[in-house]
């Protein structure tokens, strides 16, 4: 009986792994960029399945929402903007640059060398992996022992927001920086990414509130079950992206500064709480036992908002255009 379950599990794992590799190959080497991106989204979803198999539901959620969903959307948006840019370039110089979209591959011999090097790399890495001792050292026990004083009951959330909260803080910094950096590069492209259709618009009208609800649930659930700020934030961003896709021109109506404030909110609240803890005599980011849960929730709410808006802003691909109109 056990054997049969095991065999089935093995077969499933093997199938999953082969699918992953095949999808990756199609993503990387497929001739058509659009198809590659679609395959990439599929790849992300299968990857999420793999994370489920590895008993990492939090990661699976994050991978599905961010790794597959948002990254895929970013790729699609970039591809359509690339095409638009190429049309402009071709309009200017119709003859010489007609083949810019096609990627030029290096010579066969060079490719063989790269193949050999990648294979060598894989071989070495695989040998190192296989040489690892069977018993995995880790921090499972320490996390479990301290979970009760962390303020939350989901161990991953405890690690993310308490034990290794500083990592998460810097990661919020990276997100914040990504927006600043993207805004510094260019104003957001003016044309809507795709023309809104009636079906899409009504679909979005139904879906957006549900997504908001889902985000709220994920955020709340994160304290004791899979979920948390990043997953919730990305769902929030998904709602925003859908609204943008359906042609809601949010940037025109909104003044810029609330947007800036929300973008900085997560990081700001995180730093402020850390420093306040320090000023009242604790370590940086050390939450008093009684308030740990509340403080973490406060940080998560702020972070969720910021993450959602940040990811949506990144999807827009540049700074708000208000500045250019003046």
């Amino acid at each position: 009986m056990d054997g049969a379950v095991n065999a089935a599990a093995w077969a499933f794992d093997a199938l999953l792994v082969l699918t992953l590799l095949w999808l990756a190959w199609r993503v990387l080497m497929g001739p058509d960029l659009f198809k590659s991106i679609v395959f990439f989204i599929a790849f992300g979803l299968v990857m999420a399945l793999a994370w489920v198999r590895l008993r990492a539901p939090d990661v699976a959620l994050a991978e599905a929402a961010i790794g597959a969903g948002l990254t895929g959307a970013l790729f699609l948006a970039a591809l359509s903007r690339l095409a638009a840019g190429e049309r402009i370039a071709n309009a200017k110089r119709p003859v010489e640059n007609s083949d810019t979209g096609k990627s030029t591959r290096p010579h066969r011999g060079v490719r063989m060398v790269f193949i050999a090097m990648s294979a060598l790399f894989f071989g070495g890495l695989a040998a190192a992996l296989l040489s690892l001792p069977a018993e995995a050292p880790g921090l499972t026990i320490q996390v479990a022992e301290n979970l009760s004083t962390s303020g939350v009951s989901n161990p991953v959330t405890a690690v993310l927001l308490n034990f290794r909260g500083y990592d998460t803080l810097l990661e919020m910094g990276v997100l914040f920086l990504a927006v600043v950096a993207a805004w510094s590069l260019t104003p957001a492209p003016k044309e809507p990414v795709s023309p809104p259709g009636i079906v899409l618009a009504s679909f979005v009208r139904v879906l957006s509130p549900m997504l908001l609800l889902a985000a709220g649930y994920l955020l709340w659930a994160g304290t004791h079950a899979p979920g948390g700020a990043f997953q919730a934030g990305s769902v929030l961003a998904a709602a925003a992206v859908l609204l943008l896709l359906s042609g809601k021109d949010m940037k025109a109506n909104w003044p810029e500064w609330p947007l800036r404030v929300v973008l900085g909110l997560g990081l700001g609240v995180f730093i402020a709480i850390g420093l306040v803890m320090m000023l009242i005599g604790h370590r940086f980011l050390e939450y008093p036992l009684d308030y740990a849960g509340d403080l973490i929730l406060l940080i998560e709410v702020a972070a969720t908002l910021s993450i959602g808006v940040t990811l949506a802003a990144l999807f827009l691909g540049g700074r708000p255009q208000r500045d250019e109109r003046k």
Binding site: A24, S36, F121, L125, P189
Partner: protein, 102 residues
């Protein structure tokens, strides 16, 4: 060898595949996609190895690290895409020019 190790090896394979694509693909969008595949591979190695002892409870620390890594990756990707579009609008093409030989 168990299932977790299988996933870890797959992670290494994805990383190597991405590395190859990074080397041979000239289109910047493809290079950026390759980074994402490599990143997924690295995360898979990290997550799967923590799980390689059969009957252990999953170690949450690598999971947290992977989530952090995914968010960092999406930030870097988003920025890279904007930069790619700027390169295209300045130079007219989504490739890097040949390195001036030095």
């Amino acid at each position: 060898m168990n299932a977790a190790m299988l996933y870890a090896l797959t992670g290494a394979g994805l990383f190597a595949l991405g590395l190859y694509a990074l080397a041979v693909q000239a289109h910047l969008l493809r290079k950026i996609i390759a980074f994402n595949v490599m990143g997924s591979g690295a995360f898979l190695v990290l997550g799967a190895l923590a799980h390689r002892a059969p009957d252990q409870v999953a170690d949450p620390v690598p999971h947290a690290m992977v989530i952090t890594g995914i968010v960092v990756a999406v930030s870097a990707t988003a920025f890279a895409l904007v930069l790619m579009l700027r390169v295209q609008s300045e130079t007219g093409q989504p490739h890097l020019p040949e390195q001036p030989s030095d």
